[in-house]
Symmetry: C2
């Protein structure tokens, strides 16, 4: 079904598009770094999860059996490795004066709710960092045993110099060790690490630290990077197909994952690294501190000063799909308005095609297979959704033009076309035909008002028979008219 | 606001209603045993979670700061302690040929989705068993150190005889040790346990066992009972206010929790034990094997042979609230139909009250405070929702009767009454006014049909001006009439 082209994916590790070949025929393992649940999910993060939702949906459509693992970071990673670096979740708990796991529950629920609105399908496994402390400890023990990690005062660090004796560090972000050394602030004497670029695998917990566990090195908590290594290797094996995440995670997080995985199993953990690009707002980086920021719920309700009109989740999703996941994308009221119109046009076009009928059995004027292969070509080119959407509109335009001629398409081709549109729009792109309840309510209000007006006019013309008829007809369908001094209102029975 | 009565709760431990006094003024800690996520959630389980949702909502309404912990059992507890007892989640994973954690994700999502439909609010913390392996190991170590548990061949068991030297075992389910001994099948020789009633804290994993963790006793997995002890004590302290669950968990699960908690901290872990009663279907116990079973989703869609009509989640919730949580409840089509009518009547009554207005400032004929105190009296009597609902209907009936007299209630009393109804119906009982989209769609279809008919009649009477007016008015509100040989249909713009 994928036409004549084959799927190519841009691999951040090699900086080029590569033909996608899963390690195990038909099975694809994919891991995406999930949210740290200490706050309401960021719209930029949503872009990442929506992008990988599209990617997983397309891989499944191609017939792959996909195991999609997306974690929840519920022991909040440190701002940095220094001793006063505070756990983000614990900090939030302290500020809100609740248990850290209450913070986790609150924001995990919020995260799931938001993604559901965006029509993001759940992953197959959603492991939590706190649910894999033992696994992390096991890996750290193994790293110490093989000399890639060392313990100091109850904390354990990854030894990058030692790693560089056997492997290369920095291959994903193209960093050289010498550069790293130059760029790292000199904290010698203050730090217990051998080298400033070594990173924490396990941190000793202070007496007041809330989230801590027993370990061979005393009470402490895991470093951020080892979490994802423990969870991805556990559920996908020592080497798996795709690892994804936001571009901001490339360094140090993903670089450290490569080092950990390679040191553990002498094999790079991931074949294809995929990174989604940033979402900016009105041309600038989003940041709470500057106020140039918007929450998903504020976008849906139109209650944020930066974008004061409400846009539905599906329009927002369409807006995101209009850009390629590797390109930076700027969100603004104007851009969303354009997307809203575009989305309505697309759905209208889909309905137009879906309502076409044909009994014609001759040759079609419209070349369905050509159109379909263009759709696949776009998607197979590193999931190029903007090109796909362009091709969908092209096809719609041509069909609309040709449809003046009744026999432009034969029965079978039409069926194929209708099915393809349905699959691409709903199964792959994750769109939906929205006729929301509020709209229907409004339509109902307006039509009943029209009937009330007609009754009013009949009365004025002394046509009381007609007026009563309208009232009774409405009553018979369960709508009760109530007259009072201010006019007539209605109630549903 | 709770009237003159005080909250009394039936304590399963003492078999009587007791005045509720939290251990810490204003703070209430409550733990409820959650589902084992290896299957779609059972309607009987839903009753338990809906009951505790009501209980937590009411405690919060009374002003308590409630920390509600409800766990997810994601390492499926064994059928029994024997060596071939298979983990339920692993078994399901083997049958479905997927990773156990995929089973967990699938059915956790299903569980949450179902409870959302029932308007069950999320707990504050929803810990998982696999997320607390370290905590469980710590407790088991402590039990071994204090002599309450013993290790045999990589498994650890709780020593009930040893426990009985200091404490009494069986206080919740009123079982005597001698009876237990008599009633337990004699597996001596086959079992590695000292006594047949000893229960597993940690089980050695066979080579093929999937879900296992390293421990001081080798690779294994925790027993079911220690999970809940680890999670409840971690988040609520060594002794907390309320522990709830289905009545089927009283023995052995809750009995074992008492023994574990008491042995660990020399204090009973729970002040008040609360148990919800069974839900039967058409007079018989629900069981998959007999076919006398129904899933929540089947109930909502009317696709189960036992109850073939569809009932909404809120009607089902109302149905459940019409029985006291400690009474057995039988679900059937007739009973649900009666509840559906009752619910409609209640909501209609609420709307009636909500639409009343008053400018009267004299003495009310209707004694609002008396009515309100009856509501509280019912709820304070061990959360007696059937009595509460009866009192709500009583009040509605009286108000309806009195309302013939315009000045039956003064302004302030009316406001208080309206507010109380809102609070009890929506905040406490968790009901909602449902006007679902399908209904609105149908109303809209019918009203537009009426307008089409009026237009048709105008045409027949050669009143083309009127006919066009109707068409144009509809168009102006976004409804397009399309005439064809079969008549006229409409489309939304």
């Amino acid at each position: 079904m994928s036409g004549t082209s084959e799927l190519k994916i841009y691999n951040s590790l090699t900086s080029r598009k590569e033909l996608f070949k899963p390690l195990q025929k038909n099975n694809v393992g994919i891991y995406v770094c999930g949210p740290t649940v200490y706050n309401k999910v960021h719209l930029g993060n949503c872009r990442t999860f929506i992008s990988f939702d599209l990617i997983v949906r397309y891989l499944r459509h191609l017939g792959y059996n996909v195991r999609y693992v997306r974690n929840i970071t519920d022991v909040g990673h440190l701002e940095d490795d220094s001793d006063d670096g505070e756990d983000r979740i614990a900090k939030k708990a302290r500020l809100e004066n609740i248990e850290p796991m209450e913070v986790v529950k609150k924001y995990s629920d919020d995260f799931h709710k938001t993604l559901r609105k965006f029509k993001v399908l759940p992953p197959n496994i959603e492991p939590t960092a706190t649910g894999h402390i033992i696994e992390q400890i096991e890996l750290i023990k193994k790293l110490i045993d093989s000399g890639f990690a060392y313990e100091v005062n109850g904390s354990v660090y990854f030894d990058i110099k030692k790693y560089c004796e056997s492997y290369e560090y920095g291959i994903l972000s193209n960093r050289k060790l010498e550069e790293l050394l130059k760029n790292t602030r000199d904290l010698s004497g203050q730090s217990e690490k051998k080298e400033p670029f070594d990173f924490a695998l396990w941190k000793k917990a202070s007496k007041n630290h809330i989230m801590k566990w027993n370990s061979p090195w005393g009470q402490g908590f895991p470093g951020w990077h080892i979490e994802c290594t423990a969870m991805s290797l556990k559920y996908l094996g020592n080497q798996f197909d795709i690892h994804g995440g936001g571009i901001d995670l490339k360094f140090p997080h993903h670089e450290c994952e490569i080092a950990q995985g390679t040191a553990l199993n002498s094999v790079p953990p991931v074949k294809t690294w995929m990174h989604t690009n940033m979402l900016t707002l009105n041309g600038k980086k989003m940041a709470k501190s500057t106020g140039n920021n918007i929450l998903p719920e504020e976008l849906f309700s139109g209650t944020n000063k930066n974008i004061s009109e409400a846009f539905s989740p599906v329009v927002t999703r369409f807006f995101m799909m209009q850009a390629h996941y590797r390109n930076q994308l700027d969100i603004s009221q104007d851009a969303l308005n354009a997307s809203k119109k575009g989305y309505q046009r697309l759905i209208k076009g889909y309905k137009f095609i879906d309502n076409l009928s044909s009994n014609y059995i001759g040759k079609s004027i419209f070349d369905v297979n050509e159109a379909i292969s263009k759709f696949y070509y776009a998607m197979n080119d590193d999931f190029n959704t903007p090109v796909l959407i362009k091709e969908l509109f092209e096809a719609l335009k041509r069909i609309k033009g040709l449809s003046i001629n009744k026999d432009f398409i034969n029965k079978d081709d039409l069926k194929k076309l209708q099915n393809t549109f349905r699959v691409f729009l709903f199964d792959i792109l994750g769109f939906e035909v929205v006729e929301d309840k509020n709209d229907t309510d409004e339509y109902l209000n307006k039509t009943v008002s029209l009937l009330i007006e007609l009754r009013e006019n009949a009365r004025k013309n002394n046509d009381f028979k007609k007026a009563d008829e309208i009232r009774e007809n409405l009553l018979s369908i369960g709508i009760i008219l109530k007259d009072n001094k201010n006019g007539t209102r209605f109630e549903l029975k």
